[in-house]
């Protein structure tokens, strides 16, 4: 077998360089190809296939985030004023800057490792990461989603000196499940993608013994060709096990599954468009049993101090793992030692393979044998494949033949910086007066049966959300006997076995915010909304507003000028909101180029930002649920209710466009969330107003205990009142006896509120508006509609 090919780039024209990049699925721009050519010109030779592939992987959008880290000159027109903003590195000066500026004392490791790490208590910290696995899930929904969750679990295992995964999250965006038109060849129907993705996450998470506790599902035909699959994982790690260390003379060990051709070009493929002629190798297949086996061994080895650094073989495989871990020293790797699934792999294929369930561990020579023996005891494959050097070079061999030699400095710092000059004009939110001709009954039925509002119980029940025995507040609360449930705003975990740490009162709240319907109209409003939604969700279940940490996941379509400017504006808005909320970003990941090439036409997804929030609950007594508790108690709206319907489920159901979008008042929101923390004792239940508006939030609160409410209103725009989806708005149930005291506190603290009405025994929502009976909504009937859509 010929061990490598040399690629002639020294004599290549720009045209030829472009051809080499395209033909080899390298996804490198002409500027990047020229930089590679210059590097090899300096060292006086052409690159090998292994070297070119290593550079392409290291410089991929997936690994280097080269769009978000670009330089930018942005002309931003807002309120008839033009601001020119210049950035040397957009990501550093927006998202990272917010975290730096907030300087939260509990942020222990942010944007450095495989996941963000924040303090939980004196001894333990929490690691949280959310990844996307969009392209693989579009091509093979089951395998793509399974390896998505498998990959993010490995990020947690490979974070610090390994964290123990304690919970998973999953957020999906699909096309309409009932889509009737013909789809192009090679594109799966949304229902098939939906079933495959849910099954993939289920099978991997459940088999690993990790509960899936929180998520969200969005249906919109903008995701018909490019579904979005976000997978998250939370881990717990001792505070003294956060720091990795790598030094020359140590050995590199590969742990876990064997290497095959699966997933080759995964890192570079994630930067490319989807079309109908892709090779089999871009798809990975998951093997949770192998991952579970090495997870147990690695945690044991960590506690025995048998290694000093660890990372997962994710996108880019060994190339990425070894290159990243040893970038400050250098390494030598011997590919013939890598255990293979089958013969015939070329050296560059072994080096770049993205075969799943593999970790790279670095240990001292004198601890190597103990580590290998521990793995053997547990039937986990582990092989020494190389050593750490002090040459600052990445050297790769196959049977004594050097197939790759690259300077670490060039590999990690040689990527030419991108520069964009863009302009953006903030939208003036329209205030179109709409007269809704449909009857209220008809609209209610439409909204409750909308896939974006209806119960997601079928999906939630696929997952084990209780395994490990730490889930205190589950996604659904209610009666198993009556088979009726209320959805909760966020999940709550006690990250230890209660018996072991009975003095620990703290818990974790996990929530998220996502709203592509706003992304289609106005990315500024979307960004504000999703940060607020994620924060509001965890505050509602009892998280301390001052201890909430965020993760950002930007999923964007084709990066034309318009979309690019929207992406950077979203970063800028995210920075502003996070700084004001004092909620630092601790980790993030972007997935760009989510578009499909159909007859040379690019079909992009709507700009979509997912914000995940992890909050600390100081005392488990503070945990609040969303369902109503007692007859005669009072229901209040806390916050300024809006009547604007832009981006709402109602506007989508009735296909009304150009509506004004409710705006977030950040100062007020901060006041509200602090108020909710401080006066936690008053609340019997709390629920945020989100998809479907006030009427849906109220109904969801009524379901679990089969109660009802009677509302006495005085509003002019009843549709706006019932269906607007304003940020910073929460429904609260207050004890009958506390009414006067609570209202005094509200007035004293200057919190806008509205007393909606009282809880009653009969399961219905009765609305009187201006002393006239407007609605008598039978909640048993509504529950049938709401719970019967996804099966």
């Amino acid at each position: 077998m010929k061990l490598y090919n040399t690629i002639d780039i020294l004599n290549a024209s720009d045209k030829k360089l472009r051809y080499i990049s395209e033909k080899g699925l390298l996804s490198l721009s002409i500027e990047e190809m020229r930089a590679i050519k210059n590097y090899f010109k300096k060292i006086g030779r052409n690159p090998t296939d292994c070297e070119l592939e290593t550079i392409a992987q290291t410089w991929s959008e997936h690994c280097k985030h080269k769009t978000l880290t670009a330089s930018l000159a942005l002309s931003w027109k807002k309120n008839n004023k033009i601001r020119i903003k210049k950035y040397k590195n957009v990501l550093k000066e927006t998202i990272f800057y917010a975290t730096k500026k907030i300087a939260h004392k509990d942020c222990l490791s942010v944007f450095e490792d495989n996941a963000g790490i924040v303090r939980f208590n004196e001894k333990y910290a929490l690691a949280f990461k959310v990844e996307t696995h969009n392209h693989p899930s579009a091509l093979e929904p089951y395998g793509g989603a399974a390896t998505g969750i498998g990959g993010v679990i490995r990020d947690i295992i490979g974070c610090g000196l390994s964290a123990k995964p304690i919970a998973n999250t999953d957020i999906f965006c699909f096309g309409d499940l009932n889509y009737k038109k013909q789809l192009p060849e090679g594109v799966f129907h949304p229902r098939r993608i939906f079933v495959g993705v849910v099954s993939g996450v289920r099978d991997y998470g459940n088999r690993m013994g990790i509960p899936t506790i929180n998520g969200s599902v969005i249906f919109d035909n903008g995701f018909l060709f490019n579904p979005l699959v976000y997978c998250g994982c939370i881990g717990i790690i001792p505070v003294d096990k956060i720091e990795k260390s790598v030094s020359p003379g140590q050995v590199i060990i590969l742990v876990g599954g064997k290497t095959g051709r699966d997933g080759i070009h995964g890192a570079t493929f994630s930067s490319a468009a989807l079309h109908n002629e892709l090779p089999t190798s871009v798809v990975q297949i998951g093997d949770p049993i192998t991952e579970k086996m090495f997870l147990d061994v690695i945690l044991k080895a960590r506690d025995l101090k048998l290694f000093t650094a660890i990372t997962d073989c994710g996108a880019g495989g060994l190339s990425s793992a070894c290159g990243e871990l040893t970038k400050d020293c250098g390494c030598r790797v011997y590919l013939e030692k890598v255990p293979l699934k089958y013969k015939g792999l070329k050296p560059w294929e072994i080096w770049l393979s993205e075969s799943q369930e593999r970790m790279v561990v670095i240990t001292d020579k004198d601890k190597k044998d103990k580590f290998l023996a521990l793995c053997e005891e547990e039937d986990v494959e582990a092989t020494v494949i190389g050593e750490v050097t002090d040459t600052k070079k990445l050297e790769v061999f196959y049977e004594d033949v050097k197939v790759c030699e690259l300077d670490m400095d060039f590999l990690h710092e040689g990527l030419p910086k991108r520069f964009f000059k863009l302009s953006y004009e903030s939208k003036d939110s329209k205030n179109k007066k709409v007269k809704i001709k449909n009857s209220l009954d008809e609209v209610i039925k439409k909204v409750f049966s909308s896939l974006n509002v209806c119960s997601k119980e079928w999906i939630i029940r696929q997952y084990d959300h209780e395994v490990q025995g730490n889930t205190i507040l589950k996604p659904l609360c209610g009666s198993q006997q009556k088979n009726i449930y209320s959805p909760q705003d966020a999940a709550v975990l006690l990250p230890f076995n209660i018996e072991r740490l009975k003095d620990e009162k703290k818990a974790i709240a996990v929530g998220c915010g996502i709203k592509p319907s706003l992304g289609k109209i106005d990315v500024e409003r979307m960004t504000e909304y999703v940060i607020d939604e994620a924060v509001r969700n965890v505050v509602c279940v009892g998280a301390n507003f001052e201890k909430i940490f965020l993760l950002d996941n930007f999923c964007w379509g084709d990066l034309d000028k318009e979309n690019l400017s929207k992406l950077f504006i979203a970063c800028e808005v995210a920075k502003d909101v996070a700084i004001k909320y004092k909620t630092p970003f601790i980790s993030g990941k972007d997935s760009l180029n989510n578009y499909y090439l159909l007859k040379n036409k690019k079909i992009s997804i709507p700009p979509t930002l997912l914000i995940s929030a992890i909050g600390i609950i100081e005392d488990i007594k503070n945990i609040k649920t969303s369902y109503l508790k007692k007859i005669n108690n009072y229901i209040y709206i806390l916050g300024k209710l809006s009547f604007d319907l832009g981006g709402s489920v109602l506007s989508e159901c009735l296909n009304i466009k150009n509506l004004k979008i409710p705006k977030l008042n950040i100062d007020f929101a901060i006041k509200l969330y602090k108020f909710i923390n401080k006066y936690n004792r008053y609340f019997c239940s709390l629920h945020d107003i989100s998809d479907g508006g006030l009427i849906c939030a109220l109904a969801e609160m009524c379901f679990a205990n089969k109660l009802g409410v009677e509302l006495k209103l005085n509003v002019r725009d009843i549709f706006g009142f019932l269906f607007s989806e304003p940020p910073a708005c929460i429904l609260a149930e207050i004890e009958h006896k506390d009414k006067n005291l609570f209202e005094q506190v509200l007035k004293k603290q200057k919190i806008p509120y509205l007393l909606l009405g009282q809880i009653k025994k009969e399961p219905s929502i009765i609305i009187y508006n201006r002393n006239k009976k407007l609605l008598n909504l039978d909640l048993e009937e509504v529950y049938k509609i709401w719970s019967g859509q996804i099966k």
Binding site: L139, E140, L278, T280, I285, K341
Partner: protein
């Protein structure tokens, strides 16, 4: 010797599968059965294969099994076997291999896991291709044979 082991669920998903096929434009389908199948090749006798099937492959509470050396054509049915492409990781077969070793059998065996679809009445071969690709397999990672 090559054996095909069919794992037959006692309660099949008949109705939902017929509905799926109806939606794909195949009307008048009376019965659809989806089985797991394994192909095991190597120097091994049928008694040992029976032992493997009983101890490892079948859940006797909800499944039954059949061992065949050749799948016979049936004029009233279409039978389709779906397998992973050779370059794709077949995780199930890996663990079956491991499981066989744990059962104490030392034979070197080649194992593949797959899915078998029985459709009654027989469907024209032209039509079946798109139906199978749309509903039961992913041509990017799997291949199929019509019996």
């Amino acid at each position: 010797m090559k054996y095909i082991i069919e794992i037959i669920p006692l309660k099949s998903e008949n109705e939902s599968l017929i509905k799926e096929l109806n939606l794909s434009g195949l009307k008048n389908i009376k019965r659809v059965i989806k089985n797991k199948i394994y192909s095991i090749s190597g120097d091994i006798d049928k008694n040992k294969i029976d032992f493997i099937a009983k101890e490892l492959l079948v859940d006797p509470i909800v499944e039954n099994y059949k061992i065949l050396t050749k799948i016979k054509k049936n004029p009233s049915q279409t039978i389709v076997n779906i397998w992973y492409k050779p370059e794709v990781l077949d995780v199930v077969s890996l663990y079956v291999k491991k499981g066989i070793k744990y059962l104490g059998l030392e034979e070197e065996l080649e194992i593949h896991s797959g899915t078998q679809i029985w459709i009654t009445p027989k469907v024209e071969e032209k039509k079946i291709k798109s139906i199978i690709e749309k509903n039961f397999m992913n041509p990017l990672i799997q291949q199929y044979e019509i019996i």
